[in-house]
Amino acid sequence: MSHPIEDLQRISVKFPLAMGCEPELDGVIPVFHRWIQDRAVDGMLIDVADYAHVPQGPGVMLIAHEGNYALDLDRGRLGVLYARKQPLAGDLEQRLAAVCCAALRAAELLAGEGEQFRIAGDQLEIAANDRLLAPNDADTDSAFRPVLDRLLDRLFDGAAHELCRDEDPRERFNLHVRASSGADAATLRQRLA
């Protein structure tokens, strides 16, 4: 019998910034406004939400109908995030890939704004934003890992990777990934295309 996580749509992926990259959050506000004008990233882009005043918060968000982009600082870790809200086509692996691609496209564009926005390229944080379909437990983990492993093999071109989960059952199902080697955002995205 398949696990409910197969139906997961609300997926969130964050690519942490490289060590030493600590851009001012405010600096990304005009960038996101420009993205809305230029329709630079996928989705129906609505507005920019500024949470730079919140310590360890969601930073600055670009709100879109389908999913939100952010230069995120949740728990003090800076990264480029895409949180999907609306359904995607395809199986779980394809949906995961689509969410990663959206985040990586944003990361690629941000990297063009300056070196301080560069992602580490060998890490990502993934969360199932749906506690009904994906409670943070061992069952979900067992069902999800094989799918994620296949995706990570593509993303990191077969490089070894470690997975780590915050096992607090109240948290969303989550995995932090660290690969033995990485690449820049554009390369990573091409590998998933």
């Binding site: 406004h33 129906m44 919140v54 109908h65 939100n68 009904l132 109240r170």
Partner: protein, 763 residues
């Protein structure tokens, strides 16, 4: 696949589960076009599901108005409110009381359906923004499963019942008002007598008269705990006030009864509700709050009607049933009291303790305030705070009207460890209930009515003040700043030492964000008095306003003089003069930053207005005229301070007339300076054509002028005079907005002619 509805079926109160099912069915019927959109909008609002900025499917992206093509197409959830557009879910937290389990769920909901932020409001609610409407029934079910309802969080109903967050532990209170607030909420929620209001209705409780925590004076019904000796026995009751409210034209609540016995609290509130439902205005929303009914009838007549109504109410056991449980009511400390260990503590801790810790009347315990910047905390922080509460205080957590969270029953010896844990979460900042703790409504960030960025300004002020807060004089540190994005006062700007509300001004054909500076409000004494605006200053110069005013206060105050007393002694005219240099707006060539708002690089607009160069001169003329009109309103304020009510009446009327004339001149330059002609021309050109109409308030502000023109009634009291000033001020603001709108229309300048042909603009 299991749904939340199935999973939580046994955990939700049956009645609440049924209501949510009905709401979900209403949604389905609306999707099928079987429910009219206005009716559906009220249904939705009564479930706390609010609209949000840009939900009409349009947004100015900085280059012009652009459509937002939501996939739902023409399907709406209310007039001009697209189904798929993100909205706000307001969650009622009666008296701000939360337990850790509820905090966990709020954190989860913010994460899964919102933007991972829980926002604490100025009425102790929690709001989630950017929520998809289809998710709201699930949100409601998950809340219901932990004892929270969103019913009547918005709409024309009884909103969240608020209460002092120190109730039960306060050193000065008469008694703990919490069980009374809770009983009122339970009794009135969904009560048949509160379903036919013309407008919202807000209730607040305070344990004392002198502090600010309850803000009784600004509520429709405000109850202050008092005890009275009756037959030699102390009896609990309430000093009851009615008809207060902020909004565009604020009113102080007036005394209804010096002592309403505790057993009469609920039946009297029910009788008030019935009178309000029966006699309150229904068609004109602008005059539908209880304050207008109380004013119209006079408090004595209102009271007579309420007491008559009280006699006819069928008995309800619920009126007093809760009183039997009172002796056993009370929070219990999680840990045995223990004093703080002697010895030196870290400076950061001491600073936090100085501003954020309140010593309870129960020996050895404290209330610790968790300072939330702009009322925001993340899902992760909320969940971690729930854990902290579990470890230190159990269930004793409350939100505050200053947009913070307090942990009650912290034993003193735990304070250093608690602070260390809060610091780790980024929640250990000092400055609660100080000038740093700036309160702001959502403003242009998410509110459809916002004119200027209240949160952007608040964040800027907070950052600047926080860095030097411990260098500030205590008198300045004790001041409060509150900011609203528009005149509606959700940021409670009227009751702070320094208040601001967002307005727009037209400079050389471009809109420039400004804030009206409101001085003289009183936060203490349950919002004891309301301030009045003294003039508009460009948004980018507001930090300088704070500096100038606080410096002047420090320099010129007399020993022990409060800011309110200082402002009253020095006078508004002198204070306004101090700000005169700050009112100037540099040209775009000199400094373009003045033409955008805080935290938003887009060129500032109200609505989808663009810059109309061809109308530049005309707008300059009208803006010049309107600046003179503003001076008249200010003179009316000075007259009020001097107690000259006749002059207030005359000046406010003249201000509105001149404002109307300034607009008429844009189309008909030779209009005579004759009141009847000005009003007739204004009505024909701007009211009948709806050009003057506010998108949300309709013709409300024009009606201020028409009413005054019809009845030349003299202000009978200071409160009346105050209202005239507020109305004149709002009328002038509406003139500014209208002038900007008209000025932005291509060809508007051509309408400056001496003929009296009316030209309708498409706006």
């Amino acid at each position: 696949m299991t749904t939340w509805k199935e999973k939580l079926a046994d955990q939700m109160p049956e009645e609440w589960a049924r209501e949510i099912d009905i709401f979900e069915k209403q949604m389905e019927l609306r999707r099928q076009g079987k429910v009219e959109e206005k009716l559906f909008a009220e249904t939705r609002l009564r479930r706390g599901a609010y609209g949000q900025r840009y939900d009409n499917g349009k947004r100015n992206d900085g280059t012009g108005a652009k459509p937002l093509d939501y996939p739902s197409g023409d399907l709406t959830k209310g007039p001009e409110t697209v189904w798929d557009a993100p909205g706000m879910q307001r969650i009622k937290i009666p008296f701000g009381g939360l337990n850790p389990e509820q905090m966990d769920v709020l954190a989860d909901l913010a994460e899964e359906y919102s933007d991972a932020i829980c926002h604490v409001t100025t009425r102790q609610d929690i709001q989630l923004h950017y929520v998809h409407f289809d998710d709201t029934p699930t949100i409601m079910r998950r809340l219901a499963a932990v004892g929270i309802t969103t019913r009547e969080a918005c709409g024309n109903s009884i909103r969240n019942v608020t209460a002092c967050p120190l109730a039960g532990v306060c050193r000065d209170e008469s008694f703990d008002v919490t069980p009374y607030a809770q009983a009122t909420m339970r009794f009135m929620l969904g009560h048949p007598d509160v379903q036919d209001f013309g407008r919202k209705f807000k209730i607040a409780f305070s344990g004392c008269r002198q502090h600010a925590c309850g803000l009784v004076s600004l509520h429709d019904v405000g109850a202050i705990a008092v005890t009275k000796e009756i037959d030699g026995e102390p009896q609990r009751g309430f000093e009851l006030y009615v008809g207060g409210g902020l909004g565009a034209v604020p009113q102080q609540a007036v005394l209804f009864d010096e002592f309403v016995a505790e057993g009469e609290l609920l039946p009297i509130t029910q009788a008030i509700s019935r009178v309000f439902a029966r006699l309150g205005e229904k068609r004109n929303r602008a005059r539908a709050r209880l304050k207008f009914l109380v004013k119209k009838l006079g408090v004595e007549e209102f009271k007579r009607l309420v007491l008559e109504e009280r006699k006819t109410l069928p008995h309800d056991d619920a009126w007093t049933a809760y009183l039997e449980e009172l002796p056993s009511y009370g929070e219990k400390a999680l840990k045995q009291a223990e004093p703080l260990a002697a010895g030196e503590q870290a400076q950061r801790f001491e600073r936090w303790r100085h501003t954020n810790v309140y010593r309870q009347r129960q020996e050895g315990y404290c209330v610790a305030a968790v300072t939330l910047p702009l009322g925001d905390l993340t899902s992760h922080q909320m969940r971690a705070l729930a854990d902290i509460a579990r470890r230190y205080v159990g269930e004793s957590v409350r939100t505050t009207v200053e947009q913070n969270i307090v942990l009650r029953w912290v034993r003193e010896s735990d304070l250093p460890a608690l602070h260390a844990e809060l610091e780790e979460l980024g929640l250990g900042e000092p400055g609660a209930e100080s000038i740093v703790d700036v309160v702001a409504c959502p403003g242009t960030d998410t509110c459809k009515l916002g004119i200027a960025s209240s949160r952007g300004l608040a964040a800027e002020l907070r950052e600047r003040l926080a860095s030097k807060q411990f260098e500030l004089d205590q008198a300045v540190r004790d001041m409060r700043i509150k900011i609203s994005g528009c005149f509606n006062s959700c940021g409670q700007h009227h009751i702070s030492d320094i208040g601001f509300y967002g307005v727009s001004r037209n400079v050389g054909g471009y809109a420039v964000p400004h804030f009206q500076v409101v001085l003289g409000g009183k936060w203490v004494d349950n919002a004891g008095s309301y301030g009045l605006p003294i003039g508009a200053v460009p948004s980018k110069r507001i930090p300088d306003v704070v500096t100038v005013i606080t410096d002047a206060y420090l320099r010129e105050r007399e020993s022990g003089e409060s800011f309110q007393a200082y402002a009253e002694r020095v006078g508004k005219k002198a204070l306004k003069e101090k700000l005169s240099d700050l009112t100037k707006v540099p040209s775009r060539e000199e400094d373009v930053s003045f033409y955008s708002d805080w935290g938003d690089p887009r060129e500032f607009t109200i609505g989808d207005m663009g810059a109309g160069e061809c109308a530049g001169e005309v707008v300059s003329l009208v803006e010049f005229d309107l600046s003179l009109v503003e001076e008249l309103v200010f003179e009316a304020q000075l007259a009020l301070d001097a107690g000259d009510l006749e002059a207030v009446t005359e000046k406010t009327y003249r201000a509105m007339l001149q404002g109307a004339k300034a607009l008429v001149k844009m189309q008909f330059h030779d209009v005579a300076d004759e009141p009847d002609q000005i009003v007739a021309e204004f009505k024909q050109r701007y009211f009948d054509t709806e050009i003057f109409f506010d998108r949300f308030a309709g013709g409300k502000f024009a009606n201020y002028l028409f009413r005054r023109h019809e009845s030349h009634e003299q202000a009978a009291s200071r409160a009346d005079a105050r209202e005239l000033i507020e109305e004149a001020g709002l009328f002038v603001e509406a003139c500014h907005t209208c002038a900007a709108k008209v000025g932005s229309q291509p060809g508007a300048a051509e309408k400056t002619s001496s003929d009296s042909t009316v030209v309708t603009l498409e706006i």
